[in-house]
């Protein structure tokens, strides 16, 4: 058998190779020819299926469970758990909402990976002539077949939807959140042309879904109420997610521009991003401060902002020093930005845990 094979994307063979149903060989798509046109063809590299080594398995699990994004699903629950008076929380509903959210998050992420693979968007911007890309995903690497991921995505989506249905029976108002999120996702997933991630308004879609809709939905599911405080938290949370997503995508800024993919807020322009990122980050920190002060946690907010500001300053210096959109520095700066977000979330958690204790200590003093 030839090591490479070129077939039409939408032929029976092409779809079979893309789904990866062969038990002996993996067909790794390395190049799209005529993408988006009727005669679109895909060139596959054919490699024998072999067991993954331990490093690959570790990397597979990391990519499969989307740790970097999963934290944004976990935190709103942890936050409510910490700030709620003991006994005020129905633990059954809490765990059900928690599991439903994780299932729906993983299911939609895997569906997205599957669709990207089938439509060829995971090959949109290879950096080498042989289709290699430093950020290749697990399907493109052949570590998992697309059909397995597809089946797994439906399994967790159905599990998440069933749990969600049960929650809707308890809190009927949740139907509004479910319908709006589902509508947004359907429009994003199934709109023709580019993948949803490359649509300009996706930036705002992200803020809405991860922010007020998700955070507000969690509060409503747990308590049957929706407070302005939670909506403000949701807005900050959505903005933080967009910031994190954009900072992590920053090393792809040159590829995105070459393929005329132009989100509205970030990743348009290398030099402008070096200004926009700090501005957006300062906006997030300002909203966080307002939120904390309104909730009577001024002292902890001041401490947190002080610490975060120190690392922010160092990060901005690295950002300004960065000279190239394709060199090694942009990856480092992107990683530093991601760590800054994680540190901020961790500090926020500490603030929530210790603010009550500090308040008591201050009263005693």
């Amino acid at each position: 058998m030839s090591e490479f094979v070129t077939v039409p994307r939408y032929s029976a063979e092409g779809q079979k190779y893309l789904l990866g149903k062969s038990r002996e060989f993996r067909y790794l798509p390395i190049k799209n020819e005529n993408p988006g046109q009727p005669g679109e063809q895909v060139t596959f590299q054919v490699i024998p299926v072999k067991p993954l080594n331990s490093a690959e398995k570790k990397s597979l699990l990391g990519q499969l469970f989307k740790w970097r994004k999963l934290v944004f699903v976990l935190f709103p629950f942890v936050r409510l758990l910490v700030i709620t008076e003991p006994g005020a929380l129905d633990l059954g509903i809490f765990w059900l909402s928690f599991l439903a959210s994780i299932c729906l998050f993983l299911g939609t992420s895997w569906q997205s990976d599957y669709l990207d693979h089938l439509r060829g968007y995971d090959l949109l911007a290879p950096t080498s002539a042989d289709g290699k890309n430093e950020d290749m995903k697990i399907l493109a690497k052949g570590w998992l077949s697309a059909s397995s991921l597809y089946q797994a995505s439906w399994a967790v989506l159905i599990a998440g939807a069933l749990m969600g249905l049960y929650l809707i029976l308890i809190r009927p108002g949740l139907i509004v959140v479910a319908v709006v999120v589902a509508a947004l996702l359907l429009i994003l997933f199934f709109s023709k042309g580019r993948a949803y991630k490359q649509r300009g308004w996706f930036d705002f879609g992200l803020i809405a879904i991860v922010g007020p809709l998700f955070a507000g939905g969690v509060e409503y599911a747990l308590f049957g109420t929706l407070s302005p405080d939670e909506l403000l938290f949701g807005l900050i949370w959505g903005m933080l997610f967009l910031f994190s997503h954009s900072v992590q995508s920053f090393p792809k800024v040159a590829q995105l521009a070459q393929y005329h993919i132009e989100p509205w807020l970030f990743l348009k322009d290398f030099d402008k991003n070096k200004k926009y990122f700090p501005l957006f980050w300062v906006l997030i920190l300002s909203l966080y401060s307002i939120h904390g002060i309104l909730n009577g946690r001024t002292l902890m907010v001041i401490v947190n902002i002080g610490i975060v500001a120190f690392f922010t300053w160092k990060w901005i210096q690295s950002l300004n020093r960065m000279a190239s959109p394709v060199g090694s520095e942009i990856k480092r700066v992107s990683e530093q930005g991601h760590h800054l977000v994680l540190m901020f979330i961790f500090m926020w958690l500490l603030e929530l845990i210790f603010s009550d204790i500090i308040r008591v200590v201050l009263k005693v003093i």
């Binding site: 390395i30 046109q37 063809q41 002539a129 040159a254 060199g327 090694s328």
Partner: protein
Amino acid sequence: MGDSVKIYSSQDFPVYLPKLNLLYDDLFSGGKGFRSYLTGLVGKNIALESKGIELLQQTIEFIHNASLLHDDLVDRSQLRRGKPAAWHKYTPEYAVLAGDYLLARVMVNLSAYGNIDLVHYTAQMISDLLEGEWLQDSVVGDYFINLEQLDRIHILKTSSLFKWCLRAPFIAQKQNDKQLHHLLEEMGKILGQLFQRSDDLLDFNIRNHEGKAVLGDLKSGYLNSFGAYLTQGMSRAEIQAFVQSPDLPAIQRAMGGEEKFQEKLNGFDQINSAMIQLYHHYLSEVSKLISQPELIRELAKLTDVLYWRKKPS
């Protein structure tokens, strides 16, 4: 390249401009003329009229030489093909203007030919080339860059010309089959990358039959593709030590000895062999679309010439 052609007519350039023709005489003497050879190879095999072939060969040589004029100034390289670089021998201003003038002549000659697709594609190629140059300049001094990041630059800077050599004759002949052009585009991309990687190996004295000066890239603050491959998996401190190596034995010591260096070289050759296999796969797909078996045979030989630096048979 026995068949190589170095097209240059003094009529193209005004004789009254001081130093202009002297500068071009220096520039166009020397060089292997591989790009014009490749363009001629494709053009002749698809029976493109000789006027068209001549124009295309002239075009690619003008663009390539314009890029050398600008490149030498950007890199502050003192020598070009063993002689003083134009900016150094004349003035930086003349080097910039002479490069611009060549690009302008390209547009004058091509537009007179009357094929708008060819003009459009050539302008696109020049803009890709310049993007590559710009990006390359932005990574000077970045010793932690990886192979794939460099590939992105080389595809713009080096491969754009090779892609043009394969596609332009078909465009000149108004053969615009999209599938064919996509395949040629991929083949050109691979040829450019192989050429660049082979050239980068010369800098480490690998298959350096031409006796090119070694470690020139590192000394100019530029980690080339083989350097990036060698430093894969090294810590930042190890990379710092590696790039400060004064000579090749020191490089080999930094790699853990000659044997380890050889192992790395074998690994590099292996990934490039896989790319060569992909090139031949694309070529077999092209052979289904065109009926020029001689062209296919000639194109099949190019990887040996470009990567393994074998003499053409």
